[in-house]
Symmetry: C2
Subunit: 668 residues, 2 copies
């Protein structure tokens, strides 16, 4: 198993690349801005285990406002270490070092390690479902720390902590058959296993995955029922995120994972959980390309896990995903609604599309590109959709402001705006660590002896070095993606190695591409969204160019069962929106604007005056018609509409009025 | 104040009349069927205060399954007495008499009267928000009982019960500043006041209305916060109908009524509450036409109550009502969603449209026709819309089966079906008592000295007798409504009485009507949906005919902000649906069928073979296109579609597939 968090450092970004632009911003601006926030809000010092005023707040149950502080630190350390690998920064380095020492000092003798249950409720260890989420992010932070610092200052206490947890939870005598309310530790433990070969870590993760949703796990009862009994809590006492009593689906515990028929509940939890399941499946298929200490862990029912993962993925992608790659229509449980329930905003029935959830979709998609024996372009397409839309929109172009929810339409109660920070600050450092390791998402590669492969999932300008049978191979791509489809590839050092190259052909291109030099009919095939190039073609053409067509602006209508009378504009992988910064006349969140499929769309290359951001804007004609005008059958007011990439919204001030899907006024 | 439950007996229905048909069915079939259900399910004997197996069930909190049994009996008695007035039935009579004796025997010495808190939790009187709902229905039953039996066998214990309640609740010392969780007693008390002049009843109702939502009513706290404290219940323990803690809007207690800006929460509660508010306003404007014992009760801030009622009514009618007159999009709290959130079925995001809620809308509309000094046809239009659609669909043509929810589209999880009975059996007897008193909804009338008026709100065939200055006046209408618009009126016995007649012109007719004989230009005007006929015209034409046009089938599109890409068919006041009984090829709940506005619609007069029901069916052409076919831009399969009235659905077997709004395929 080779996770992107391990492999990213083999990739170097080159120019031009929107991803490189964002990575530079995070490295130079965002990490510092987030560090300031952590210092100002109390997280930074929290492992000193002193009282903080926020600990007095008990307005949120069962997860008080500060409950995730451990994870905020863990995630920031993880992101920081990824970027330190690329670009040294003395302040970031010093902060990581100090944080690690504070974490070490906060550990109990028995290995226990948690801020809240050390300071606020010391008697209530392991009574709250979130704690293991914190542990998971500390583990991931430790792995990143070890990768950069090449020491065990953080790994050491984390290893002790894992041993402590392993002792307490499991199927054995004196253990509890529990599993986390907020999955995350599962994928962290499997990463830990991959890095260290710790059987304990693997066993614990697998127990959590297999035990989850067991209707009779603990003393013949569902663990959450048993837990509520232990706490002597009435069935009707429940968190605000649970609409009904026993809403175990909120944390994907309504059924064992293998029996779940649809993706349900809190979207981030679901994505982290399924990512771990995909990791477990990956580990059963081989431990990867040799960089890892772990051995293959056989899984007798691997086919069942594959079937379940495909089923839940498919349910999400075909019935529960917005055109922006956002998932989660319902704010109350920050998660999935019923099939095809995808309103664009809270004033239209819902829309949450949390940043972390789409980061999670990307993680799951990347894992499935390996775990599913059928290489499938849908995973890559969705990964790219999330990256350039729902995820990238979550950070401002200047790297200092963030979103948590990413609605497709603003309203008076939820303007299109970004914030410096959040009380629950999961999203900002998640974008950081994703961009820190994004090189690992671009491609897979590897080989043994005289055979090698490269599967390219994302296009940009970058190069990767890896070894095959002791020889160093270099593979590079250069493009102006996501704006143009022409990508120049070069393979070096692979002479005499039979290299198969697979290149993703996005579904929106409708398979329209040109490869130069042109391959013979035996030298390529297109299967499930990938162009396969034979070793013969590659041997003959160490440099070649793929030109993916289909970048003309296109209209997208949602699935008819969504009952959404809307049309959106997209260009390549980029989904567009209108906002009042360009359309200053707008006063009603574009509720009254209709467009027609087939209307001409003009493309305008823009360089933003303030941010320097370069992108294609789109221009077309729409009609403003109020409900009254529509009822009277009037033609309405003609409006010239300027669209910008959804990710670029809310970077230029304005009134916070924005919309992705406009009223569908029929065909032209 | 003359409520329809008092005045209906002055009206006699004649043929032809769909309302008369339904009334005969209820009188001869439904009352007996419901009585059998009450006997079989335990309600009938419950006032004997013996243990029943259902009392052991504690799966529902805070309202166990049997908590409403008192109200089931009260409501059935009310309906039974209304029908006994028209048609004597020895079995019904005997049952009412026996029930009344059982109720009398169940009363405690101090006046307390409730099944659950006498048998199951005798120590917990007044700890549950629903009890006063039960009391309200017992009061209404007692009023109907007295009207028919002309004795106080039921009024007597009820009067004692009211005195008991009055003593306990109010602003005085030793009293609690509480109000019911489920409004109903307020309107019952005001009816009681109207019938008896009991100042206690009026004061208690007014206290409940004015105190509701007071943020600092009881010991400086919101009463529900105070109550939870008394019960020592954590804030996060809450009924399943409360999505969040402190969801006081569920029972309209989030703000004082006068400050509420939108209609929220449980729809039945909201309607009963606002009906009572309208009653209070009515009582401030005069005690009615002399039949009642009550005197005018002045209300210093009557204009504020009128403003609040208009505001909440308007919010409901323009933003929260289905085309069928159904209200309540959300099943969890059986109530209102956000503005314009009106999916057609549970698999599309929601739809509840409870039968009782539309009965409540009719009650509120009828009250507002008096309470609002501006006679407004919108109240009458909505009352009629509810009557012939969401309410009438709630009972089968044979009078033996009922609905609770009235979705506009079926799905696999919620087929279009009726049930014999419900565990929570509020809806069936509500339809019964509504049809029992429906004569009171047709018109207002009255007069003094030499001046009289008749305001006709609903058309059918019926006559009414009333006295003006000691003289008996008879007014009649004859029509084949709701199928044809021609209504013949006759006024007798009103010679020398200057009579103004106002006739509702439904909005869907677009004001297109012909009056015969034709009036002179001074003899009529049309204002806010009513045609005003001058006393001069009426004196000259004791018989005249109004022919309302606009019965041609019409396409209805929902408000654009609902984002529903649907079209429905209507004809006059009747809203139509397709169901598989006529369209046997359908297998997917008509999800894939589209229609075009402007496509020809054929009208077919039908007499149903089994039920004898007569109605216009509609026939038009649609296109079946699966999502795949739509995406490929295919024309699809041409389908001949037969529509029947929504109220007639699910009377002829079939697969329970039905839909009101079909996919809008644009203009023809």
């Amino acid at each position: 198993m080779s996770n992107p968090q391990f492999t990213f450092r083999q990739t170097t970004f080159t120019s031009p690349s929107l991803l490189l632009t964002r990575r530079n911003t995070v490295s130079r601006i965002t990490l510092h801005a987030q560090l300031s926030q952590l210092r100002a809000n109390g997280q930074y010092d929290a492992f000193k285990l002193k009282w903080h005023p926020i600990f007095d707040d008990n307005s949120r149950w069962p997860a008080p406002l500060h409950l995730f502080w451990d994870s905020d630190i863990g995630k920031w350390i993880e992101g920081a270490c990824y970027f330190l690998l690329g670009e040294y920064d003395v302040k970031i380095d010093a902060a990581v070092r100090e944080l690690v020492e504070m974490i070490r000092s906060a550990q109990h003798d028995d290995g226990y390690l948690n801020i809240h249950f050390s300071v606020v409720e010391p008697g209530k260890r392991w009574t709250n479902i979130h704690i293991r989420y914190n542990a998971g992010h500390l583990i991931e932070g430790a792995l990143a720390h070890q990768q950069y610092y090449r020491n065990d200052r953080l790994m050491e206490p984390i290893q002790k902590y894992i041993a402590h947890i392993r002792k307490r939870f499991g199927p054995g005598e004196g253990q509890t058959r529990a599993y986390p309310g907020h999955p995350e530790i599962e994928l962290a433990l499997l990463r830990f296993y991959s890095a260290t070969g710790s059987q304990d870590a693997y066993d614990l993760a697998r127990f959590f995955l297999e035990e989850r949703g067991n209707p009779a796990g603990q003393d013949g009862k569902h663990f959450y029922d048993w837990e509520a009994e232990q706490r002597d809590e009435p069935r009707w006492k429940r968190p605000n995120s649970w609409p009904m009593d026993r809403s175990f689906w909120y944390c994907q515990a309504h059924d064992p994972i293998l029996e779940q028929t649809s993706v349900e509940g809190h979207a981030v939890r679901a994505m982290y959980l399924l990512t771990a399941a995909a990791d477990m499946l990956n580990l059963s298929q081989g431990a990867g390309d040799g960089q890892l200490a772990a051995k293959t862990q056989s899984l007798a029912n691997a086919d069942e896990w594959l079937t379940a993962l495909r089923r839940l993925w498919s349910n999400m992608v075909t019935k529960k995903m917005y055109v922006t790659g956002g998932v989660g229509a319902v704010a109350q449980w920050e998660g999935f609604g019923i099939d095809y329930f995808l309103p664009q905003g809270p004033d239209e029935g819902g829309c949450y599309a949390e940043t972390c959830a789409s980061v999670g979709v990307m993680m799951l998609a990347e894992r499935l590109l390996h775990a599913d024996p059928e290489l499938n372009g849908e995973y890559g397409d969705v990964m790219e959709l999330c990256l350039y839309n729902n995820v990238m929109t979550a950070m401002s172009a200047d790297g200092k402001a963030f979103t948590y929810e990413n609605q497709l339409a603003s309203c008076e109660g939820a303007r299109s705006e970004r914030e410096d920070w959040f009380v629950c600050a999961c999203c900002p450092p998640n974008v950081t660590r994703l961009l820190g390791s994004i090189g690992g998402y671009l491609w897979d590669y590897g080989g043994e002896g005289d055979a090698a492969f490269v599967n390219v999932h994302l296009y940009t300008s970058a190069e990767v070095k890896f070894s095959v049978g002791g020889r160093e191979v270099m593979f590079s791509q250069k493009s102006n993606w996501p704006w143009e489809g022409k990508v120049a590839f070069e393979l070096r050092g692979a002479k005499d190695i039979a290299t198969t190259i697979r290149l993703r052909i996005p579904a929106w291109s409708k398979g329209d591409f040109v490869l130069t030099p042109a391959p013979g009919s035996d030298d390529f095939k297109v299967e499930r969204g990938y162009l396969y190039l034979s070793p013969a073609y590659v041997a003959e053409n160490s440099a070649f160019t793929l030109d993916i067509h289909g970048f003309a602006p296109r209209y997208i209508a949602p699935h008819p069962y969504t009952n959404q009378r809307t049309l959106s504009l997209a260009r390549g992988p980029i989904v567009y929106c209108v906002e009042d910064a360009d359309n200053e006349w707008e006063e009603n969140h574009f509720k009254d604007i209709g467009i027609k499929a087939g209307e001409d769309v003009e493309e305008i290359w823009r360089i933003d005056k303030i941010r320097g951001e370069e992108y294609f804007a789109l221009k077309t004609i729409g009609r403003e018609r109020t409900p009254d005008m529509l009822e009277r059958g009037e033609k309405g007011v003609k409006r010239e509409l300027v669209f910008v990439p959804f990710y670029f919204r809310s970077n230029r001030g304005g009134k916070g009025q924005m919309r992705v899907g406009l009223r569908d006024d029929g065909k032209h």
